[in-house]
């Protein structure tokens, strides 16, 4: 019983490694394990260039994105005490999407788009926080409703943008909205955010466990609730923004992965945080590899595959035990 989280951690680390190797080896130029090893260890040639310059950045982005979305999901499920909370429930993704799509509509250079997306997401996060934290006291329902209303508003404007956009631009916009990792070249900021927030949230997992009991119970047990909730909100917002700016609004990961770990028997947040991040990284990396290779040369948005893979896994686990 007590070793279960450690065993799961090993299994998930192995899964993450395997899905990374698959991401590096599979593609229009398939590599045998031997070729892949040679390419990774630095033998110059075509294989080396493909692996290191094309596939590696994309795999790195998928891993970071999956970890960040899972982390945001776990944190928001604790903060809102709502099992249906996901990284997008607070309207942050809507703000980011608006920032990016408006930039696309205006014809802004592609390298600028992450910055406009970040600006949009930041504006949304601050708006929701300011309205939810009125008068120095959290009201979780107000926070949740503000997020949902803001997301709906963003959704309406996004529809408008899609209608107004010229035909050629629409496909790119739809890909971004469904989640797409094809254009990513730089992912180290996302990695840094994931490692920092992940380490912090894991270290404070004991406090998160108490916070998850409810704010009054947490206060009785000596957690400074207002500070803790502000930190959790900020961390969740930062994780969501970092992921969304990298890969668009990839759905399903942040909602499902934490539940998947819980259904495997781990609900202690000291373990749930790191295990969810590992599982999310492995899961998104695998989904992205499938999305770009299954119907090659056609590339599908990864968001489609997170749902296609995640739904059956979840249903299986839900049906397994009462």
């Amino acid at each position: 019983m007590s070793q279960r989280p450690a065993v799961l951690a090993l299994l998930l680390a192995a899964a993450a490694l395997l899905s990374t190797l698959l991401a590096l080896g599979i593609g229009s130029h398939p590599l045998s394990p031997g070729d892949l090893w040679a390419a990774i260890t630095g033998e110059p040639g075509l294989a080396h260039d493909i692996v290191m310059q094309v596939r590696r950045p994309r795999a790195a982005a998928a891993l970071a994105c999956g970890a960040l979305l899972s982390l945001a999901g776990v944190l928001l499920q604790v903060l809102l005490r709502n099992p249906l909370a996901d990284p997008y429930v607070l309207g942050i993704s809507g703000g980011a999407a608006l920032g990016v799509l408006l930039a696309m509509l205006a014809g802004v250079a592609a390298w600028m788009q992450p910055f406009t997306g970040f600006a949009g997401a930041f504006a949304a996060a601050v708006t929701v926080f300011a309205l939810g934290y009125r008068a120095g006291d959290w009201n979780l329902y107000r926070l949740l409703l503000t997020g949902v209303v803001l997301a709906a508003g963003c959704g309406a404007v996004l529809s408008l943008v899609l209608v107004l956009a010229p035909g050629a631009a629409i496909k790119g916009m739809l890909f971004w909205l469904m989640g797409d990792l094809s254009g990513v070249s730089v992912s180290w900021p996302a990695w840094a955010v994931a490692l920092l927030l992940g380490a912090g949230a894991t270290a404070l997992g004991g406090a998160l466990n108490v916070l998850a009991l409810g704010r009054q119970q947490a206060a009785v047990l000596g957690v400074p609730v207002a500070i803790a909730e502000t930190l959790v909100y900020a961390a969740a917002a930062l994780a969501t923004v970092s992921a969304v700016v990298l890969g668009g609004t990839i759905g399903f990961v942040g909602l499902i992965v934490p539940h998947l770990i819980r259904l495997l028997g781990v609900s202690d947040l000291r373990w749930l945080v790191p295990l969810s991040m590992l599982a999310g990284a492995a899961f998104l990396c695998l989904a992205d590899t499938l999305a770009r290779s299954l119907f090659a040369p056609l590339q599908l948005p990864v968001g489609v595959f997170t749902a296609l893979l995640g739904v059956p896994v979840m249903l299986l686990l839900l049906g397994r035990r009462p």
Binding site: G222, P224, D268
Partner: protein, 256 residues
């Protein structure tokens, strides 16, 4: 020195005062009963005394120090509060749940010490949940969940226990065991208990002090045997007490 002291305390919500100008001193060794009708301010008073909400007027002192001057963990080591919140949303086992009561005593950021495990297991045994320790909390019955919440409080090991309806959902045997346990608990090491109850007989059986909250915002505090007489209780509850309850020796325990 008194454990808890409230001075000219007014509690309630903005625009609605529930209790006015309350003076209360809880000394070590005392077991207090807090009685009053629904909505008379029992829970609000307990939350205010525990520092969860600010009083409208006046202040609360713990160990002779103003309550707000305590850090959150330091307060949690001295004072525990049993809430009426539902806990069925918790994912883990009974033992996982009770262990969280050790949070204010934790020595490292991440793990529990052997002492934490020992006091959690002792607390689980005290509330008679030893056979359920590895069950999921959400799978327990209402009364068992109530005992799990009490176990968390015993694991927290405060000096002052504030209990909001500790007897709710408990069967008769566990009600009696809990009351006896609380009486004995308060007799040791300078501890005290203040609990809201709906059963004057239970209050008579174990409490030496009583605080009555009347619907008009007035209150009365003092020796339990003096306050818990028929006239006082009938004025408090606004209804006649039946004979079994009024005489304090009801045989069956069915009448309230």
């Amino acid at each position: 020195m008194s454990l808890l002291q409230a001075r000219t305390l007014a509690i309630g919500y903005p625009g609605r005062t529930l209790v006015r100008r309350l003076d209360l001193t809880v000394d070590p060794g005392q077991v207090w009963a807090l009685l009053g009708n629904n909505g008379s301010g029992k829970s609000t008073l307990l939350h205010t005394l525990a520092g969860l909400r600010a009083p409208l007027e006046g202040g609360v002192e713990l160990d002779g120090r103003a309550l707000p001057s305590f850090s959150a963990p330091a307060r949690a080591r001295r004072l525990g509060l049993l809430l009426q919140e539902d806990v069925s949303g918790f994912w883990g086992t009974v033992r996982d749940y009770v262990l969280l009561g050790r949070y204010p005593h934790r020595r490292s950021l991440w793990g529990w010490s052997e002492a934490d495990f020992a006091s959690a297991d002792a607390a689980i045994a005290v509330v008679d949940l030893g056979g359920r320790a590895q069950r999921a909390l959400g799978a327990l019955s209402g009364g068992e969940r109530q005992r799990a919440r009490l176990a968390m409080l015993f694991a927290q090991a405060p000096v002052l226990l504030l209990l909001d309806e500790p007897l709710q959902h408990l069967d008769l045997r566990h009600q009696r065991e809990l009351l006896a346990r609380l009486r004995a608990w308060a007799g040791e090491r300078g501890r005290a208990v203040l609990m809201s109850l709906h059963d004057p007989r239970a209050a008579r059986r174990v409490c030496d002090r009583a605080l009555l909250l009347f619907d008009d915002g007035s209150w009365q505090a003092g020796e339990a045997h003096a306050l818990l007489d028929d006239a006082c209780l009938e004025r408090l509850y606004g209804c006649p007490l039946d004979e079994a309850s009024a005489s304090g020796q009801g045989a069956s325990g069915r009448h309230v």
